[in-house]
Symmetry: C2
Subunit: 330 residues, 2 copies
């Protein structure tokens, strides 16, 4: 193993100088810096992370928790997060909580003195717990807002509202909303914004559902029997199941039922060009979350800042005018 003192010897300077040349170049003359860098390069010197961590108190590690990886929604989030971490010279510890508050808490606990900061996507722990945790370590939540904790929110509630407006504009008056899994912080907010956006539409909230194909497939009859002419699904997997069952029944979209989805299918290789959906900036959200954590790490400030990321409405062929317009009041 090549140590600092080996480089120092090779470059004819002291270990302190090498350390500075590598970590605080501005404190060093241009000439010696170049000489040191050349020597380090030649010997193949690498920092010893543990030694550095011991003295600086920084590990160079970040934790990122997600409720599950089975929902491919999180794939681009993690990819974006990893990219941002890498650019800053950090590594990412990805931890799956399985949507369990207990597991999440245990995780916080185990990782607290192993990492410099923590990002939590869709955390399920009680707000008080999260706030307490944020006091001990830089923490940023993604898609959940908690008093006293910095957050990044992808504004799907706004998007769902716009989906509602879009559908109402097409003439729909009864819309089903297929809710997400129990514990989702965003889900009730989406529903509320939907109702606010289309006060003259009847909204049929169904669920909670696990974001699974089968669950989507099973709702078709309910939705049709209730006289809904359009559906907004919590996520793409639900929608896919619904669409499949619909097709099996010989029905078609949008003639028999307009279909829209509150997240983007493309992340999972499930891109379907014809489905009206919200395009969610997932990779960007992962990136922002990590960058936000890093800014907390750097500044040691607890700013309680919140970021809201807009979503894009992709209007496509799966939504159209309902077959028979219900009578409109006069």
């Amino acid at each position: 193993m090549v140590r600092l003192k080996d480089v120092a010897q090779a470059a004819g300077v002291s270990a302190s100088t090498v350390s500075r040349a590598l970590s605080n170049p501005e404190l060093i003359s241009e000439a010696t810096r170049a000489r040191v860098l050349a020597a380090a390069d030649r010997l193949g010197y690498r920092h010893h992370p543990a030694a550095r961590a011991l003295v600086t108190g920084r590990t160079g590690l970040l934790a990122f928790s997600v409720p599950t990886l089975a929902n491919p929604f999180f794939a681009p989030i993690i990819a974006g997060a990893q990219e941002a971490a890498e650019e800053a010279g950090y590594e990412l510890i990805v931890a799956v909580t399985d949507s369990s508050p207990e597991r999440e808490t245990a995780l916080f606990d185990r990782l607290a003195d192993r990492v410099d900061g923590f990002a939590a996507a869709g955390p399920r722990s009680p707000a008080s717990q999260l706030a307490r945790f944020a006091r001990s370590l830089p923490l940023v939540t993604l898609n959940r807002r908690v008093r006293g904790v910095d957050s990044v929110i992808i504004d799907t509630p706004d998007g769902v509202g716009r989906l509602g407006t879009h559908l109402a504009g097409l003439g729909h008056r009864k819309i089903a909303y297929l809710g997400g899994p129990t514990g989702s912080w965003l889900d009730p907010r989406r529903l509320r914004r939907l109702r606010e956006a289309v006060p003259d539409c009847a909204i049929l909230p169904l669920g909670p559902f696990p974001p699974e194909f089968e669950a989507g497939a099973r709702t078709v009859e309910t939705v049709l029997d209730a006289g809904c002419t359009a559906v907004i699904a919590y996520n793409s997997t639900l929608l896919l199941g619904l669409l499949h069952r619909l097709t099996m029944l010989g029905l078609s979209t949008p003639e028999d039922l307009s279909l829209a989805c509150a997240d983007d299918l493309s992340a999972a290789g499930l891109a379907m060009p014809d489905v009206t959906a919200l395009h969610v900036p997932a990779a960007e959200a992962g990136r922002r979350t990590v960058e936000h954590v890093l800014s907390l790490v750097a500044s040691e400030s607890r700013s309680a800042a919140h970021q809201l990321l807009p979503v894009e409405l992709l209007t496509r062929a799966s939504t159209g005018r309902p077959r028979e317009l219900p009578m409109s009041g006069g």
Copy 2:
């Protein structure tokens, strides 16, 4: 922060004794051990990972690389891996390579002196590279076998062979195989085993395909035009697209086309009870891979051992007799 010496003081012993009581209890008398543990517990003592790593050379960290997280196939693998790591007191750094050999190599490089061992699912790097890397650090590959590198293989080639036998037994004589992504090590092996299993069947290999819905959907016409009566798809996402398009065309399964899939749909919430598929022990594979890495870490031996995990054939309603039996030679 509570340090070793704080506990020592509280327990009325030396720091060395505390260290031993915590890490090598067998070297310590029962009485003092109990006293030390009580004190440590009372003060809420936690190891300082960096300090420990500095002296022992062990970080308590493991790396697990995957080509992508967009394919939910990897979700249970990582869940299983994380579970095994946690049980052994390790944390897992999950790294996404995006199926890029360069990124993978860069990753190995960056992480080599940060972790105690490395697990690589479906690595894309050249064999020589992987072998070289295995010489410098405990490495286990999952679903790729490389000379000189320990591995865990989920035996989907065998499973695909059995799928072929199953289809041939139903009377199919022309079977399409929808291949996976470029660079997959398993894909050509599955195809080969399929051919070996049903030498009297014509096999139409299609692909390579990205494991995406659209790609599956686009193959339907090709498959039917070629006169195939059955399809085996590399993965569930492809199959889903194919099934959807088939249904859209008013065709049904298995009457018009028998459908089978080389991986399990359930991981992604895409479980479809009616599809003949291979049940893949993904979580088990993740767990085994990590356990294998840990055994290398512990023993410092390079045993070059290989594990083969069997898959289960789930015969269900999506496969049946072909509509018209082709004439059989006499």
